[in-house]
Structure formats: C-alpha cells, structure tokens
Amino acid sequence: MKPADMWGDYVPSLLGGMATNFEISIVALLLGLAVGMPFAALRFYGGRLSVAFAAIVISLMRAAPTFVVMFFLLNVARDVSVFGMKLNMSGVMTVAVSLVPYSAAYTADAGLDALRQWDRGSPLGALLFLPNITRAFFVIVMASGAAAAIGVPEGISVILREAALLPSLGDRLVVFAIGIVLFGVPLQIGLALMRWLQRELGRRLVGA
C-alpha cells in the first residue's frame, strides 16, 4: 500500500466513517438514557410488582445480543407500523436502536446506583453516574462496528473495504493497524477521562 493512498484516501475515509460510529453511539446513548432512567426510577421508587417487572425487562435487555437485535430490527421491525406509519428506519438508526437494550440496561443499573447514593445524602456519589455513562458510551462506539454487517458505511466498513482490495497479508495488517490506532485513541482518551473523573469524585467524596 502506497503511503500517498493511505494518507490521501484511506485515513480521511476512515475518519469520515468513524464520525458515523460516533453519530450512532450518541443516538444510542440518548435513547438508552430515555428508556433506562424510567426503569431505574421504577426500581427505586416502585412497589414490589413494578420492581420485579423492571428487573425482568432489564434482564432481558441485558441478555439480548446487539448483533442479533440489529438483524431482528432490520428484518422484522421494518414491517411494523406505529399509528399507521411504517417505521422505515435507516441503517444508522437500525444500528443505534439495536444498541439501546445494552445502553438502557446499563443506564438503569447506573441510574439505580446514583439514586441510592443521592438518597443516602451523597450527591458526589450520585455523580459517579457520569463516568459510568462515559464508559458505556465508549463501549457503544466499539460495538457500533457491527453496522458493517448490514452495509452502513461506518469506520469498520471503510477498513474492511480497503483491506478487501489488498492482495498481501502485510498490507492488510497495515490497514487494520491504522484502524485500531484511530479507534483506540479516542477510546483511551475517553477511558482516561473517565478514570480522572472517578478519581476526582472519589477524592471529593473522601473529603466530604
């Protein structure tokens, strides 16, 4: 692979594709918060029945594999009508929604923890919700690569498309390595940010 091709074509395409991964992840996280927080509240404030109901739903969401949910949405949910209107989700939206069970289950768990901390009179403890959600966001970014399986032009699709055209194993490994670096940098920065947030909050918690 020529360096000119790599820097002139591949890397910009990959960065463009990764923007789609972040777009998917933001949508999935926001939807996850919208779905997960009411369940967290239900588990915290609800009666025995509603707590049991919330726990079952969260267990199911936690157990549903993203990859399978994505294919389910792609092949089944497209025929579903809501108030007489077909859902007709785009590829990006299909992947984002497929990540919602994970994101919502995680939010429900972290949210329940935050509510308990708040109830115990520890607002700083409740703020640990933020680094937890940051961690979930980066997990979702990495999982959004599943979109390549249904033809969404995101980062992994770009890497695979580039690699498929290269005959030698060595060239393909270079393409993969660049992909790992470009995916890894924001991930590691994000995780470092999360650790810093946790440390800071922990320090203040001890101080309080």
């Binding site: 157990a63 294919f71 999982a143 055209l165 790992i180």
Partner: protein, 549 residues
Amino acid sequence: MNLAVLPGLLLAIAALLSTLAAARAETPDEALETLLKEARQQCGTAGQSPDRLERVVCGKPLRIGVRDYYPLFGTRENGVHVGFEPDIAHTIAQRLGVTIEFVRVNAATRIPLLGEDRIDLVLATMGHTTQRDGQVRFIRPHYYQSETALVGPKTLHIADWDDLATRTICVAVGNVSNAELVSHNARLMLFDEAGVLPDRLKDETCTLAAQDDSFFAYYFTDRAFADRFEQKFGFAQVPWGMGVAKTGSDKLGRALDLLSQIFHRDGTFLEIARKNRIRTTFLERQQQVWQRPECNTAQGSANPACVLPALNLELKPTPFAGAVESAEDWIEKRLGIDVTLPMLKTAPAFSLFLNGVANSLILIAGSLTATFAFAIVFGFTLGSEFPPLRWLAWLVTMTLQSSPIVLTLVIAATFAHALLPYSAGVALGASILALGLTNGSNAGQAVSEAVISLHREGREKGMALFVHALGRSAISIVAFLINAAKGTPAASFIGAPELLGALTDVSSFSSGRATIYCLVLIFYTIVVMIVVWACGWLRAWLEGREVKA
C-alpha cells in the same frame, strides 16, 4: 430389359421419391409452412375452441406479454415497447404474418394472465424451471439464457469459488442462486431489491454483488460503471423460454418451437441481441447447435441432444414438512399469527438450522472457556514482577481494547485463512480465539489489578495470592464471560456457521424472515440468560475461594 420388373422398379422409384419428399418436409421451415397453411384453412369455418394459432392467423392480434421496465430486454419509451424481447415479438409477428398487441406484465402477473386468456404468449424474461413446467407450456429451444453474474471491482482478484470463502456478497432476497453462494461459504448481505445493488457497489458498501447477468447488462453499458467493475464469473445458468397456455395453444406452441429453431439456426436471435447490446455467448453456441443436421429437423425441438433441460430448483422436503405446514396453518387460523418456518420444511434448510444450533453452542462454550483461560493468562502476565512480560501483556491488552470486536474477528479470520484453508472449524476456531482474547484481556486486567491490590495489602505470594485475586475480581470475570457469550453471534460476520449466519442463509432463498429472526433473538436471549445464571454460580464459587483464602 424384362418388362415384368418395370412396375416394381417404378414402385421403388416412387417410394424413394416419397421418402425423399418426406425427409425434405422434416425441415422446420417446411413444417412451419404446413402448420400455418393448415391453420389458415380453418379461417371462416365455425370450428369450436380454435387453437390460438388459428385465431391469430385468421385476423385476431397475437397478444404478447412483455416487460416494460427491464433495460435492454423490455422497456417502454414514449409509449413504444423496445428491447430484445419486443424486437423478437415483431420478428415472430412478421414471420407468422399476424398483428401483435403488447400487454404489460411483470414477474408476478405473466403466468396468471396467460391462464386467464388475457395474453397468448409470454415473452418476458421468464426462466424455465421445472416448477413452471406445470403452469406453462415452454417453447423449445429457449431464446436466451441468463446466469447469475458475480460483479466486483476490476482491482479485486476473484477467479473462482475458492476466492469467495468468507467474502461478503450483496444479493437480493429470494434470488434462486443464493443457496449456491451459501454452499460455497460466501457470506451474504441481503437487500430487498436488486435495483440497489449497482449503487451499493458504486458507493462501496458492497465489494461484490451477485445478480442476474441480464440485470447487470444495462449497467455495463454505462462507461463509468464498466470502467470500475467487471463480471468475475457466472453461475446458475437459467434458460429463458417463451411460454404459451397449456390448453388451447398446441399449434401456436408448435409454430413457435419451429420458429425458435429457425431463428437460432439463421442467427435471427443473435442479430436482435447484437442490436440490443446484450451478451451473445449463449446465442452463438445455440446457432451452432441448431445448424447441426440432427437438430435442424422438424422434430429437433423434442430432441434432448439439442434442447436444454429446465432448471430444477426444487429443494428436497423434510419428512415432516407436511406437519410443519399444518402447524403453520393451525397457528394462523387459531391465533391469527402468520408464522413461517422455512428451516423445517426443506432438507438443506433443516441441515443448516441444525448445524447452526450445534455450532452456536460450541461457539458459546468455546468462547467462555477461552475467555476464562485468557483472563488467567493476562491476569498472571499483567501482574507479573518481570517487567518485559508485563509490558508485552499491557501492549496486547491495549491493542485488543482499542479494536472493535468486529475488527478483531476479521483480523483473527485473516490470520486463520492465511495459515489454513477455509472450513467451518477454522472460522469457529478464529471466532473463539478473537472473543476469548478480547474479553479475556479485559477480565485479565481486572485480575491483575486485584493482584496488585493484594500485593499492596501485603498478602501471601504465589498461587495462593493469584487464587485470592481471582475471587476478588470475580464480578469483572463474570461480566466479561457474559459479554463473550453475547458477542458470539458477531462470529457470523467472518463466516462462522452459527445460528444467526445459518438462518440468514436460509432466509436468502426462502420466505419467513420475520419468524426466522424472532427465533434467533429468542434463542440467543435464552442462551445468554442461562450463561448469566451459570456465571452467578461461578462468581459465588470464586468469591467463596477468596473468603477461604
């Protein structure tokens, strides 16, 4: 000369001349003329239920069903039908001396319209299959043959089936050739409509696409498309036949059989194909066939050595296919739910389904074992007191954490296929390795952190400390074990024949996608819940060991 032998000699000569005359009448041209002459003689007589040939030669128009949006083969421009098939229709009409009336048909309507006597002839990209033989009387010889074309970028080297293993090929759902692609270990990306495939090739969503070559023929007339893409190879040849109704069209069918022979022999089909810029390889071969003396006879269209067989697409049913259909009907009638279970109705689909279930269970068991094993290895090396080993383990862990799971799977598959030829076992092995490494490295990091914290607490060293650390990091180990089980369906992306991949393959050549994906979702959710339950026991056991330590 003995006059007594003269009558005998004359008789012999007469018999010879008669035989020669009969032999000459065997040519398709003369057989056609005779047939048309006989049909014309029926005009004006009050015969009941005349054959459609008699109807059209006596003044009624020949109603021909044609496509009106199938580029190069049948389109409508400014109200005029143009393309290969309308041109054939005009040539037939000219040769029979009849007028024609075009009727717009599509794949769904062409056979019903024939049965309802609203058209006399179907000339509309209709593949000749054994299933359709029961509905239509096909004209032999066939006027065209299509095949499934595998199209990809010119820069990509694909020579034959061996180069397709684990590659993703974009296809339209329901294409009859999908099953053949699946049998050669290709992964399919399904689209509802074939019309999107060229665009998906152009925007590089698809590296390869497979569809009828007659479909791609139009796109290859676009220079920009032809400059970038090429047909890699073709397979699943389907002969195309004109069709007439099974009743009341014996003579029309016979006339068209003879005409098709003549058109092949004389290069008429070939000439029309060239005019419409479609592939002519099949027609060139057919011209040679129909010029052969044994085929160029009035009976040539019935000679198996000259005509092509119909394509047999019927899949062998399972012994319990009838019971499955009854169950589907019962569910629909009683519960109002439209359930279709194609994986239980045909032998190939059932085999894919059973293998998919077995492979999924193997994959999950293997991934859990590998995750636990790698967690121990990474936990040990990351917590090692030997710095080079620790740094190396840290580097590998960081790399694995930075790689999305789909990419890790692809890299594992790339290495596996560089070392070994493709097989289901290799794909499963690569998937287990990738899932185990990814989740095991993360769990191992938690183990090493526990090791470090125990060091700081000044606890015992050696194996006892390590066992203690496993107990302390039990929550993380269990979380990544569950993650590994949840990640197994992603292995279908690299061609591991687990349930999701197997049923996606089944859905590519049969109906019932909604039921199929509902079942896959239920299967995996239940399996993961069982893993969660089992991991609860493991966690309790590990934490119990920490308490003991």
